[in-house]
Amino acid sequence: MLRSIRDGDKLLVGLDGELDHFCAQSIRRELDSQLADPTIRQLILDFSGLTFMDSSGIGVILGRYRILRERGGGVSVIHMNDHIARIFHMSGMGKVIRQLDRKQEAVR
């Protein structure tokens, strides 16, 4: 189960452990079941508990971005470690996914 907090049209979800091709399958399923509520327009992913991510994570983030873009919303990421940030920027995701430093900014 993913930890999540709902605030209006925003959903903050904390990801723990590793995000590889294997884990991506269940994370995607859980995120999509929460995003089934059409009133959610902003997804904030908290990466503070994420210890590893490879390019499978790019697909998961961009896939959720496509869902929320349809609703006029978007995806933000907070607390990325340096290694995950390298993959994030390599993929050009920084152009469409907001990177925030603090939870306060995310839920403002």
């Binding site: 590889d20 091709h21 590893f52 490879d54 697909g59 390298r86 993959i87 390599m90 993929s91």
Partner: protein, 153 residues
């Protein structure tokens, strides 16, 4: 003085073994005293190569993936990941960033780009029906630095 060393492990092409392969390569590379960043680079590159073998080489069917690694010249880590899967018809195209044959599975097409960025050398040998062999090399810097520092002291 660091001795040359080699390892090899073969495992089933199931997604659970992506994490297994990362742990194995990290444990083997530890004898080079890599930095946290170097270990993360190596684990990520291996994760990408093993994922490719599982997703594309065997396309979800069961086969064996082999991870080989060796240490030579005190600081050079060589890694090979091979499968006997369907192989790659157009290697150049497969290596292009964002090229994917699996957009419906949300594959980003960034696997080879990540391997290329995080390792010093990358080569791919593959042909349809002949499987795929990925070779990667990375020079671990931390030990060089340590030896230089000892020299100065």
């Amino acid at each position: 003085m660091m001795r040359n060393n080699e390892m090899q492990t073969t495992f089933l092409s199931v997604a659970e073994n992506e994490a297994f392969a990362r742990v194995v390569i990290a444990a083997f590379a530890m004898q080079l005293s890599p930095t946290v960043c170097e270990i993360a680079d190596i684990k990520t590159a291996v994760s990408e190569a093993v994922t490719n073998a599982i997703v594309h080489g065997y396309e979800g069917t069961r086969g064996m993936v082999t991870l080989r690694a060796s240490i030579h010249d005190h600081a050079l880590l060589s890694i090979e990941i091979s499968d006997q899967g369907k192989g790659i018809a157009n290697i150049q195209q497969a290596m292009e960033p964002f090229f994917t044959t699996r957009p419906e599975q949300e594959r980003s097409g960034m696997g080879f780009a990540v391997m290329q960025t995080f390792m010093d050398e990358l080569s791919v040998e593959s042909a349809p029906g002949k499987g795929t062999l990925i070779r990667m090399k990375k020079r671990i810097r931390s030990r060089d630095m340590l030896e230089n520092a000892t020299h100065i002291l």
